[in-house]
Symmetry: C2
Subunit: 296 residues, 2 copies
């Protein structure tokens, strides 16, 4: 009964930072792999183990760490199952060391800030429509994922989009060989799916947790904050409204000093204010709850 539950277990890390207004990840083997290694039993929790392992290997200080997903689909040569536990870790440390690559090399269709992304998407739509032709379930999934038929573009659906492209044979990793492969960087061992999971997760996280601040220096301008959000979301935001939103939540407080002037009026510098972070529900519980209060 219990002889079958021995598995090889690996940790996989998506180490993310934002530089040059673009999210970057640490890669290995010429961009085709993510940092991964066997689970050592030295640490009490997996999370602590991962932190220690990555910090030791890379020398970076890690901010927010989050477990993503545990994959068990892979079979080893020896017939044993390989379980891979994936994590996302954020860092603001930017070094030239290590092979950092833009996330959008792997998902060019996810950066809606570039004007030419529409060209890629038009291409995708053409092929994916062919794949979903006559299958209403596929058609609906595509419409929702890619924002067709009056559906809005939902930037959090990175994983759904990647899986559709995989199913339709439009990426190199796919199990079927389509006659057309999208121009984008591939990865081995399904690591690109792990990366898609990470992007979905971070795009969701920045909305209602203060996770972005782990990607910023101690002091920053509101526009730097905005640009970091934009880099992750792959979308432009309305500058004045972004200010209003952030300031109204008291997520940041003024440092009193100003940015080293470049062009134009110098911007105020702010720091993250943890005291306001519990209000960081930019989105949030919109159920029509009746109020509940407890007298402390």
């Amino acid at each position: 009964m219990t002889e079958a539950n021995l598995c090889r277990t690996d940790l996989v890390a998506v180490l993310m930072t934002v530089r040059d207004e673009t999210p970057h990840i640490l890669t290995l083997r010429n961009g085709s792999s993510l940092p991964a290694g066997p689970l050592k039993s030295a640490h009490r929790s997996l999370q602590k183990g991962l932190r220690a392992w990555v910090e030791q290997q890379t020398g970076f200080h890690l901010g927010h760490i989050e477990q993503l997903y545990t994959f068990g689909d892979t079979q080893c040569e020896d017939g044993m199952r390989l379980v891979r536990i994936s994590y996302m870790a954020l860092t603001s440390t930017s070094t030239d060391e290590g092979d950092w690559r833009s996330v959008y090399d792997y998902f060019p269709w996810e950066d809606r800030r570039r004007g030419d992304t529409d060209v890629i998407l038009t291409q995708i739509v053409k092929h994916i429509r062919k794949w979903s032709d006559g299958r209403s379930d596929r058609h609906r999934r595509c419409a929702i994922a890619f924002g067709l038929d009056n559906h809005p573009w939902n930037d959090e659906l990175v994983l759904q989009r990647y899986e559709l492209l995989w199913e339709a044979g439009l990426v190199a990793e796919s199990h079927i060989k389509g006659e057309f492969i999208l121009h984008s960087r591939a990865m081995s061992d399904d690591y690109r799916r792990v990366l898609a999971t990470a992007m979905s997760r971070i795009r969701a996280r920045i909305r209602y947790t203060p996770a972005v601040f782990d990607l910023l220096p101690m002091h920053f301008t509101l526009f730097q904050l905005q640009q970091t959000m934009e880099a992750l979301a792959g979308r432009f935001m309305h500058k004045q409204n972004f200010r209003r939103l952030v300031l109204s939540q008291h997520l940041v407080s003024e440092t009193g000093s100003y940015e080293q002037a470049g062009q134009g009026r110098p911007a105020r510098l702010y720091r993250f204010d943890p005291a306001g972070s519990e209000n960081c529900y930019l989105a949030g519980a919109k159920l029509p709850l009746s109020p509940v209060t407890l007298s402390s």
Copy 2:
């Protein structure tokens, strides 16, 4: 280097349903354990393996299945690490078979619909204030988790609350022996933490995915839907506004028939409408994004 990554791997399932306006879970060993078993290598993906395993063991049809978290803290007798991959599964099948128990037996403080929950919470606050006395970080965590100091009660923080109680030595499973233990049902092997994770997750899920409908029969009234949500959230909702919200999202469509009248005016019966489910962001992306549309 690779000799250390052999682990025992177990699947753990939180099988949830709602009956009698209360969320229930399937338990074992007199309520002290959850269904768990070794990972068999028969199935291609973990998710499919779990579904087959639970459906075979229990005979229930499972709706929404979701991976919760992978725990690696446990050490076996033989020195090998035990990795436990936990899942939540929803079912609307209600049978008398199996040892189903109310979730609120394990977390009485989470059901804010009962008037006497305030008594429990007052008790908790008394002890937890003592524990956090003079430690501002602890004080802040408690305030946010338990809705003190003008913080609103956030029903999604089930796990945070449980972990605080655990740290403070107020639950039986705790590593430290407090002089006071809260009246609530305990579990072995940290299963209660898994359950807390599941409750946190489902309370988040019902807000912006149509997961609730997996807990309802095919046809239902709006008030049944509301009561199911209330059971999970542990909160009462405003009836008229709940209707408005659900109907405005086109999440349901009328069946044309009416409930078998009990008291009062008979209620219309509805069914879930998957066509509207992509609008199920009751909460959602409230970033001030600039609009993006793609001409299909």
